[in-house]
Amino acid sequence: MDAESFYARIASALGGPSPALHLPPALKVAAVTATATERRAWAHLASERLRSVGGSAECVSRSQLAARVQELVGASPTVRVADALLPAEVLSVLGQATACTAVDAHTWREACAAATWGVTDADAWIAETGSVLLCAQRDRPRATSLLPRHHLVIVPLERVIPSLEGALNALVDTPSQWLLVTGPSRTSDIENDLTIGVHGPAVLHVLVVDEETA
């Protein structure tokens, strides 16, 4: 059925066509401004909420970051987002990892399917639910956080926000996909018995980087 006939059917069901709807194109709203203390409180809440659904999170200083990433990822096969999205010291310990900017689409998919860890940044980390916001882009392909069994998120404290409204407002333009990830993949389909790690990653770990932490 063509679009106009389809609309006409709805209009006739409604008793006549509705006046045109003027929705302003999605507005960009100013980012959430907050003090570091407020952000830390949000980060605390976000960790709690993430933990309650089987994820995990910790706060690290810039100086501890590289060592912590090294400890977690080690020499496992790893895929990661582009250089520009990660702190420089992380790049040095992820020397072996496949960067999305270094390969073609085919190699990238193979690398993701074979990887144990996927390392990404995040556009926001949300206190209300503990969710990580990831917008797809050239430097941050979707499969980084989908195919590997473990997903490591490295996010600066400045991107911790209180609520879901903030997340939607944080969107720049319209990415091809935006995604909220809240914990590891799960199912209760078999006899109501909760299992972690069905199709998506079984581990979601967030490292929030607090510059001022000693």
Partner: protein, 484 residues
């Protein structure tokens, strides 16, 4: 039809369900768990009622000007490169998908969970066109391997014991497995992973579209929805035409209410919002994103003021979990794609001449628990009453009961006839049943009683009518207040 307006078919399915101990306990356990989860989430969220008000209003607003809202959605989604198709009915929807599959030379379609796909019987259409349709949601895959239908809209396989699931998997893989959930889920993960990577076509439903940004949103916990909307070259999303909100702010309310109402989660593991296929320089994501907007009976429902509100449904399943009938007999007894109170309302509206669907209005106690649980406050119990009225007007129902009801309606309008009739009925009851149970031969051979007693236990006949007792109580009350 018998006196309660249910056919032998329904009663047989219900009897069958009640006779299976595992099913009965599993359905009860599941609905209890989901209901408790929801109650817990409601207690934790201080703003729950305010979110309900907001979402109830925004859903109704979008439905009330659906044509205009869809226009905005289509215009903005197209600007992102989404290709939108329109299907008047199930056959047209299937034809669109099959044609796309043909054009792409697709051999394997990996599917995310979609009730609309069940509704239009897409899998059968794809198989007929030699395209393998593979369900990838764990529960749906099990249902597919068993050749069954989902019994709950969000937990499709609640009725199946793990031993049967293990047997299905063992037959499928030609291997031996244990009964552990981890082992069974792990088998599904390994087997389906290869299929995700091999599939040419990914097919999903659409939990909600957002007109403001031209987006299609998918809520999931397992991650299969992300797989099928990321890995195959072509992604097709099936969207019921009413599944749309106007703005991102409306969508935030949905993000808060859908998971809480369905399972008690604050949010599902993944909320995946798509604005078109992958952009030119992106490494992954589908090259094409098609959205098929499906009517299939919905515009009929929209035209009917009595039932229009039911289009606000967000398919959370809260009304199933709250329903005493559903939580006793489970989903298969309904014999339809959508079970429970919402199914009993929308199924007959989608196909008005279908006797089997019409009877479902009677598979309810009219207790109103569904309305209380509904995140968008659809007055399901009122709709069920109205569907029952329509059934009577159309002459559906047991003749002897209809005759009795007509007589009763007349009698109740005249107090002394009502009182006299009641006295005669009580006398008759006491005469045949005394103080005990009604004798079988009376129940089986008296026309009206025969129908009424088939699935019910008739109460012992009272010695005095309630209205006589009431008069006494009122007199005592008067004396009490006099003496003060």
């Amino acid at each position: 039809m018998s006196a309660h307006g249910l056919t032998d078919d329904f009663l047989q399915r219900a009897q069958h369900a009640l006779g299976q101990d595992f099913l009965r306990q599993a359905v009860r356990k599941t609905t209890d768990r989901l209901r408790d989860g929801r109650a817990q989430a409601v207690r934790e969220a201080g703003d729950f009622e305010a979110w309900r008000d907001a979402l109830s209003a925004s859903r109704r607003r979008a439905i009330a000007r659906l044509d205009a809202v869809l226009r905005v959605f289509v215009e903005r989604a197209s600007a992102h490169g989404v290709q939108v198709h329109f299907a008047a009915d199930a056959a047209e929807a299937c034809a669109i998908v099959v044609e796309l599959a043909r054009a792409k030379g697709a051999r394997l379609a990996a599917k995310g969970k979609s009730m609309l796909s069940e509704e239009i019987e897409l899998n059968q259409a794809l198989e007929a066109a030699c395209v393998e349709a593979l369900e990838t949601d764990l529960g749906e895959w099990i249902i597919q391997l068993a050749g069954e239908r989902p019994s709950h809209i969000i937990l499709p396989v609640v009725h199946k014991p793990r031993a049967e699931i293990r047997e299905l998997f063992e037959q499928h893989g030609g291997i031996t497995l244990s009964d552990e959930t981890k082992v069974l889920a792990g088998y599904a993960r390994d087997r389906l992973r290869a299929e995700f990577l091999r599939a040419d076509l990914g097919i999903t439903g659409c939990n909600m579209a957002i007109a403001e940004t031209g987006a299609v949103a998918l809520f999931s916990n397992e991650g299969n929805g992300r797989m099928v909307s990321t890995l195959p070259k072509t992604h097709i999303a099936l969207m019921g035409m009413e599944r749309i909100v106007e703005t991102r702010a409306d969508f935030v309310d949905l993000m808060r209410l859908l998971p809480r109402s369905a399972t008690g989660q604050r949010i599902t593991t993944y909320v995946n919002v798509l604005h078109g296929p992958k952009r030119t320089h992106e490494l992954d994501g589908p090259e094409e994103l098609h959205v098929v907007v499906v009517d299939a009976g919905r515009s009929q429902q929209l035209a009917d003021r009595d039932y229009r509100e039911a289009l606000a449904c967000i398919r959370c399943g809260a009304c199933l979990n709250a329903c005493p009938v559903y939580s006793t007999v489970g989903g298969h007894a309904y014999g339809t794609v959508y079970p429970g109170p919402i199914g009993a309302v929308i199924e007959p509206l989608y196909a008005r001449d279908d006797e089997r669907r019409a009877e479902l209005a009677n598979a309810s106690t009219l207790c109103g628990a569904c309305h209380e649980a509904c995140p968008v406050r659809i007055p399901l119990h009122d709709m069920l009453v109205s569907l029952r009225q329509a059934n009577v007007r159309q002459g559906r129902g047991d003749r002897s009961e209809l005759a009795l009801q007509r007589v009763a309606a007349r009698a109740m309008a005249v107090p002394f006839v009502y009182a006299g009739g009641g006295a005669v009925a009580r006398w008759f009851g006491r005469f045949v049943a005394g103080d005990g149970a009604w004798p079988r031969f009376v129940l089986h051979h008296t026309p009206v009683l025969q129908a009424m007693a088939r699935q019910r236990v008739l109460p012992k006949p009272p010695v005095r009518a309630f209205r006589d007792q009431w008069a006494d109580l009122a007199r005592e009350d008067m004396r009490g207040s006099d003496g003060r």
